[in-house]
């Protein structure tokens, strides 16, 4: 499939044949991308796929070995300073000065962006309100929680209204609640007209936030498209039946295997049945199960997840929240 993920008249970020080599190691290989104004594009891939390297090249922190990229029409190498003027980067590790307070960090960022003290202070007060930083504004950043730190970090990227906000793994290592807060902030920002370029190794995150997803692995684009396009690439929807325990699963399989082609996932106590006919299939499954006496937790019509897409397209399962039970209720 084509690497040119997005086509639009107003392309804010354009990368053409972007490559980065570290010695013999090819971190990024011939990466192409167009990001249209006001959209959220997510770069999705496992650890080490080259996501951070791409962000660093686009944010002028690292020079491409070959290829080129522009942000708002400025070349990331030749007009690096102009690019820095329109981009805000929030790096992977919440890069703040640990030994300054939240307020001092924000003030420093505003001053470095060129604001005199008075307007810098006004901007910082606005950000402190907007990101709910008030209760820990005078705490040293090293002593606040991970979620609070991330909020300061995001705020620090927004002392100016950037044309493009680049977020490198904004929720890695955050607890579910903080993750939700970051997500809602991101959605608000996009409503306010910011173009967002986001990397993540979480499928749920890309699925929940992005208009367009670029799947990368080993420095190469594996697939690109909207979340539903990617999902549709790997097949149809299905009905999932979740039993309350192992014996219920056995009963469900017995009841369904006569009429349907079933797939059983014992770990999740889930029996899956292909459902090309939507509700008709759901109804058929329900009636086949009635009177069997199996205790059922859940019956649902589902589209394939990005997990399935990733597995189908790259042959490997990426990081996911699956092993974090606490995440279940916030999984979209």
């Amino acid at each position: 499939m084509s690497n040119d993920a997005i086509r639009n008249d107003e392309s804010v970020v354009v990368a053409k044949g972007l490559s980065k080599h570290f010695g013999d190691f090819v971190a990024v290989d011939n990466f192409n991308l167009e990001v249209k104004a006001g959209s959220i594009v997510s770069l999705l891939g496992p650890n080490g796929a080259g996501k951070t390297t791409i962000v660093r090249m686009l944010a002028t922190l690292s020079e491409p070995t070959s290829g080129s990229a522009t942000v708002c029409g400025y070349d990331v190498v030749r007009d690096a300073d102009a690019v820095r003027g329109v981009v805000s980067l929030t790096g992977q590790f919440a890069a703040l000065e640990d030994n300054l307070t939240a307020q001092e960090n924000l003030l420093l960022m505003a001053r470095l962006r060129g604001y005199p003290k008075g307007s810098a202070t006004r901007i910082v007060e606005g950000l402190i309100d907007r990101f709910d930083i008030g209760e820990f504004r005078d705490k040293l950043v090293k002593s606040v929680s991970g979620g609070q730190r991330r909020r300061v970090d995001l705020a620090a990227s927004l002392v100016v209204q950037p044309k493009v906000l680049m977020l490198d793994e904004p929720t890695t290592g955050l607890d579910p609640r903080s993750r939700q807060v970051v997500w809602s902030t991101i959605r608000e920002l996009v409503q306010a007209g910011v173009t967002l370029f986001l990397t993540t190794q979480y499928l749920e995150e890309a699925d929940a936030l992005a208009d367009h997803i670029v799947l990368i692995d080993h420095g190469r684009v594996v697939a690109a498209g909207t979340p539903s396009e990617l999902k549709s690439q790997i097949g149809d929807q299905r009905v999932d039946v979740v039993g309350v325990d192992a014996s219920a699963v056995v009963l469900i399989v017995d009841a369904l295997s006569a009429t349907f082609q079933v797939v059983v996932d014992h770990n999740r106590r889930t029996v899956s049945v292909p459902a090309p006919h939507d509700l008709a299939d759901l109804a058929a499954v329900t009636s086949a199960l009635s009177g069997v006496g199996a205790h059922i937790d859940e019956i649902a019509l589902r589209r394939p997840t990005l997990d399935d897409a990733f597995l189908a397209l790259t042959g490997q399962v990426p990081e996911s929240y699956e092993n974090e039970p606490a995440m279940k209720e916030v999984t979209p």
């Binding site: 030994n99 300054l100 962006r113 907007r130 100016v160």
Partner: protein, 280 residues
């Protein structure tokens, strides 16, 4: 995040001031970043231990413990030791600057600054100047302690100015060297280890505590050509008027010290700048 965006004053509403000329911009940004470094000092006072407690311990240890067994012909041990300790303080600045730089690179703070429309030169200059200011604090502490314990420098006003200039040159050279090392090593723990492994022995072989001339062949040979020996001998020459015998560089310590400093600066500054401007 209870408020909605629409209800807020957005940053974009504040007009971004016109960019001043490049020199003013550079000075402003450098100033902001130096202040940022200084602001953190009261929060982590232990970070200053290598320019405060450590020299104090060395001074007391050598003056009153080892010093009782060391006799220098023609001068009090205070007058021998203090110039040596001042030289050693400069040399330890390599470690301080390296660790601070490695830490900043590690936490991503430097990357954040580099991603801003800020002149990159100001980021690295502030790093160097901030470190130099910290080292000056250490040197003042050592000198003050020395004076209180009986160090008696003999300097004309001209000699004092020469002493200050020499110290400043040494500080600049060693700090740049430290910043470069910190950027290469990238881990503050490793920087601490490597720094001590290099600077510690070299500073002991440099005639800091005992004359090089009395050492055995191998340490004496190293000491004769150790750049830190030129540093220590030059401080001793300027503050006490004493001449050190031995290799050519020890006989001409001030010239040698200036040579070493300029050599270090000529090598380290371009390398550090290049690494900083387009590091990966």
């Amino acid at each position: 995040m209870t408020m909605t965006l629409a209800s807020m004053t957005r940053p974009g509403d504040e007009p971004l001031p016109r960019r001043p000329g490049s020199l003013r911009r550079f000075l402003r940004e450098t100033g902001l970043l130096i202040v940022r470094g200084l602001q953190t000092i009261p929060r982590v006072p232990q970070r200053l231990s290598d320019v405060t407690i450590q020299p104090l311990v060395f001074t007391l240890l050598f003056l009153y413990v080892f010093g009782s067994a060391i006799h220098i012909k023609g001068m009090s041990y205070q007058n021998y030791l203090l110039p040596g300790l001042l030289g050693q303080s400069l040399a330890f600045g390599v470690i301080g600057a390296g660790v601070a730089t490695a830490t900043d690179f590690n936490t991503g703070v430097i990357d954040r600054f580099r991603s801003l429309p800020v002149t990159r030169l100001s980021v690295i200059s502030s790093q160097v100047i901030g470190q130099i200011l910290e080292q000056i604090l250490g040197i003042v502490i050592v000198a003050g302690m020395g004076l209180a314990l009986g160090w008696r420098p003999h300097m004309s006003p001209f000699g004092f100015v020469e002493f200050l200039l020499l110290m400043l040159l040494g500080l600049s050279a060693f700090t740049w060297f430290g910043v470069l090392l910190g950027m290469i090593v990238k881990s503050s723990d490793a920087m601490q280890g490597i720094g001590f492994a290099i600077v510690f022995p070299l500073s002991f072989l440099a005639g800091t505590f005992v004359p090089i001339a009395g050492m055995k062949l191998i340490p004496r040979t190293i000491g004769d050509w150790d750049p830190l020996s030129a540093l220590v001998a030059s401080v001793r020459h300027v503050t006490q008027g004493t001449n050190t015998t031995g290799s050519w560089q020890l006989a001409h310590p001030v010239v040698s010290m200036i040579f070493w400093c300029f050599l270090i600066i000529a090598v380290c500054v371009p390398l550090a700048l290049r690494r900083f401007m387009n590091s990966n």
